[in-house]
Symmetry: C2
Subunit: 544 residues, 2 copies
């Protein structure tokens, strides 16, 4: 490189792009840095958009974290909003840019080009689709705010993913009758169905209608039509069925793009052209569990990889880490969080995994305000490597997922969770933290003291004639139990061993804890026992 300052162009001025720009400036005072952003805003808080629709985030200005002026002042970055990069001439190392004020196209040369064009909400090609609103940027949120200003009575949110759920909640806050329509059999694809069920329940409990296994096939003037032929009233329709990488620019320029439209990059976030980097929702990631290519459209990764690219450009040999895809959503005060792979995906990939369910309190039960946490841990059944986790709860679900994400990054095994020393006082945790409990349960399987059975295996066990023993109290049993189970309370078990059916057994209780105690008694009495992980709580939620 000559003595001339490097010239870096950046496409997209939000999470990935602007993080690259600011970091690059900190690393290189002399670089010429130009950011092109086709919308009229940069550095905005995409993740806050749903909350502005309802006014939870009252001030629109709060969403605009920076302006071209503030970035110019502090970082000497040339930020051009209303400028769309329309093509890349890789040979000449030049981009063509349309000024959306004047429609004039100019060209700009680069030494290095960073692409962070993000992703676009996917809108299916169905009749009336043009009436559907989407939510990605400030223009979108302005439109949605205008739409709710027209006081709609009903809204249909198509898609029950993170953004769909956030939008549904915020519309409901405004007094709108909201229906969420989701094609899959469950909401929130990153969760397994028996975990997602808590989220659906929370929506229903807060007055939102949830239609899973349903599809919107047409949008009318005041209605939507479902695949079943049913019509739903819909003064407003929001489409949130996922995003597609906005990678046409890269593709047109002949950069390698994967089957899902993700720009292919190496561990330096370099595309197939060594002078062009890509980050954020448009770029391919490496999955931490499989090592394979993955699309993970999340803000942390976009920001992180933006920063990393700046480092690489100034010559630091630093590489991006495979992604865990840690994510969370708030649902009327409930948190639903996940990390890594879920059971569906592990099963589909034919992995030999183990799933553990637990339902401990968010903090010590004797201190007021403890709320049930619903936890699921997935580990490799051979190596005990942690593969993923899910947590649902009013309090502390975020904390437990963050701890597991950190454990995964640190290479801890499932049973190592038993030994984590987590901050305990009765307001904040338990002497045996929920995370430790997952570790204990896993440790018991690893060491052959326990064998687990999953809620979805109960039916097969029953068909195979294996007795199901419910060790809760008669009162609990009466209030609801798995069909075909017999009741033998754990505290009476030692005296009633003669009543226990001979041979293999499946044990259940409310959450798995008493089942574990019973399992230990019965194993030592010579039975081959499996304990239903998560107990009646998981089974009844899953089969509801």
């Amino acid at each position: 490189m000559s003595d001339r300052p490097r010239k870096v162009l950046i496409v997209g001025g939000v999470a990935g792009g602007m993080s690259a720009a600011t970091r690059l400036r900190r690393l290189d005072e002399s670089a010429e840095i130009v950011v092109f952003e086709r919308s009229w805003y940069v550095s905005f808080a995409n993740c806050g958009l749903p909350y502005h629709v309802s006014g939870v985030i009252e001030d629109r200005q709060a969403l605009l974290l920076q302006t071209p002026e503030s970035l110019g002042r502090r970082f000497g970055i040339d930020v051009r909003v209303g400028h769309e990069v329309v093509s890349i001439d890789r040979d000449a190392k030049r981009v063509s840019v349309r000024d959306l004020n004047t429609d004039r196209i100019t060209t700009e040369s680069y030494d290095t080009l960073i692409l962070s064009p993000g992703a676009a909400p996917f809108v299916p090609d169905i009749p009336g689709a043009e009436r559907a609103l989407t939510l990605r940027n400030i223009a979108d949120v302005d439109k949605m705010v205008a739409a709710v200003g027209r006081r709609p009575h009903t809204a249909v949110v198509v898609g029950g993913g993170f953004i769909g759920i956030e939008v549904a909640e915020n519309l409901q806050h405004l007094g709108i009758d909201v229906t969420v329509v989701e094609m899959a059999d469950q909401l929130l694809a990153p969760l397994d169905p028996e975990m997602a069920a808590y989220v659906a329940q929370q929506l229903v409990d807060n007055g939102i209608e949830v239609l899973t296994g349903n599809e919107v096939v047409a949008i009318g003037e005041k209605t939507v039509t479902l695949g079943s032929g049913d019509e739903l009233p819909a003064d407003m329709v929001v489409m949130s069925i996922g995003v597609r990488p906005d990678s046409h620019l890269a593709k047109d320029a002949g950069l390698e793009v994967n089957g899902r439209g993700g720009i292919v990059v190496d561990e330096y976030q370099r595309t197939s052209d060594p002078d062009i980097f890509a980050v954020g929702d448009a770029a391919e990631k490496r999955d931490a569990v499989s090592g394979e290519a993955a699309m993970v459209p999340l803000a942390q990764t976009a920001n992180r990889h933006g920063r990393l690219v700046a480092d690489v450009i100034v010559g630091r040999r630093t590489t991006s880490k495979p992604v865990l895809g840690t994510a969370i959503v708030g649902v009327f005060g409930l948190m639903a969080a996940s990390v890594g792979w879920n059971e569906k995906r592990l099963r589909a990939a034919g992995r030999n995994y183990r799933a553990i369910h637990a339902h401990p309190g968010s903090h010590a039960g004797y201190y007021p305000g403890s709320e049930a946490l619903h936890l699921k841990l997935l580990v490799d059944a051979d190596t005990d490597e942690i593969l993923g986790a899910q947590a649902i709860g009013k309090d502390g679900a975020d904390k437990r997922i963050d701890v597991i994400a950190t454990a995964m990054r640190g290479g801890l095994k499932g049973a190592d969770l038993a030994d984590l020393e987590l901050a305990y006082a009765p307001q904040f945790g338990s002497a045996k933290d929920p995370i430790n409990m997952l570790g204990f349960i896993d440790d018991n399987v690893v060491n052959g003291q326990s064998e687990l059975v999953q809620w979805h295996e109960v039916e097969a066990a029953r068909k195979a004639g294996i007795p199901l023993v419910d060790v809760r109290t008669p009162g609990e049993f009466r209030r609801g139990h798995i069909p075909g189970s017999i009741n033998l309370p754990v505290d009476e078990l030692r005296n009633r061993l003669d009543e226990v059916p001979a041979g293999d057994l499946v044990i259940t209780c409310q959450v798995g804890l008493r089942g574990h105690v019973a399992e230990r008694i019965l194993r030592q009495a010579g039975h081959q026992v499996r304990n239903l992980t998560g107990g009646y709580q998981t089974w009844s939620t899953a089969t509801r």
Copy 2:
């Protein structure tokens, strides 16, 4: 071992002892398990005691997690309350037990003995000490409840550690005028002074008087006398200046005991007698940072090691992990948490460490309710190994300490925190989580992009004639700044480089972020720069 069931005696029926007992039963149905507890209660929630004094935990019964009957029913454990083990005959493998109902002494033989006698509040030998209340068990809390029932107007809590602070808060809730007297210059010894200052302020803001660097030398009928000679009104006096291992039984039996009274154990929690194990507050731990012996009287460890001993007894070769001492306390809605070593201790040990301060929001600033978190990270300056951390905040301090505790256990380095993928939605975190920020800051030092200076080094820099440049706005500067500093706002820096004093510089801003930006500009302009970590926020808190 013969075919006869093993006979295991346990001294102490709470955290460590009862965890060993229940786990042992799960592992061995046939064992004879006898638990001796000299008080009238087992399995109680020590950690909840302060909250029962005020009625936050209203029901006394809630503190009693188990009874001898419930443990007998579920676990077939022979639990004897009101039974004190008074001596151990190691040769005969027999203990002598005093029945406190009858004062009769009997003996009981063992194959294995587990000691979990806990610790006793230390009460100094000062005049009137017998009037001081302490808080360790149910009898203590009953006494304290009776004492507050007599409607005291004033209380002096001697000792500003975790328990002292909890007791002070709960007495204040009852409308009592509370003064905390602490001999050291700060509250909460596990924290460094500039972090503990937030806790002191929180107490003061909630109407509690805090006297640090003060000592109670005598207790009168309605007063206490301080070392200074001053008298304080004190209808009630609570002594909470730490605990001493209750290890006299072990010592009398000739078991090895360390200088601080801790029963010496190996990594199997085995004492110097292979048939006797010790766990909990009375047992020595191995410190995770130094590998040295340590006393860490915390519930998690007691419970964990109790479980472990049961495993070892049935023949599993599992070992206890060195302890991090992760701890937390709630202070009128503020959390103060810590893990590992603090700066005081690292400095005293002559370790080459690096301290990092940051004051990020608990979640995205644009989402309502974000509260400042005060974070401190300590890493080895040579290896970047994480040595400790402290967090203060209304929300999410627990989560960040748990993440760092997990990172330490997983062997992650300071700079690895930059890459942790933590669950982000605006209600729960930031796209660059506070933990990531610590990682970024550390990464910058590791890679030579930044050099930090500590609040306690500012004075020396000033004396050495190194200019201190404050890069905040003039308005912020006017509202308070470090004496001797000059003001050059970061956003004007590039245009005013000629006004920057030549040579070495110390930079400061409010929290360190703008200082970092300024540092990068000035370094590239040829200055040798150090950025004040934590900025004016840390400096002003520390020097208040």
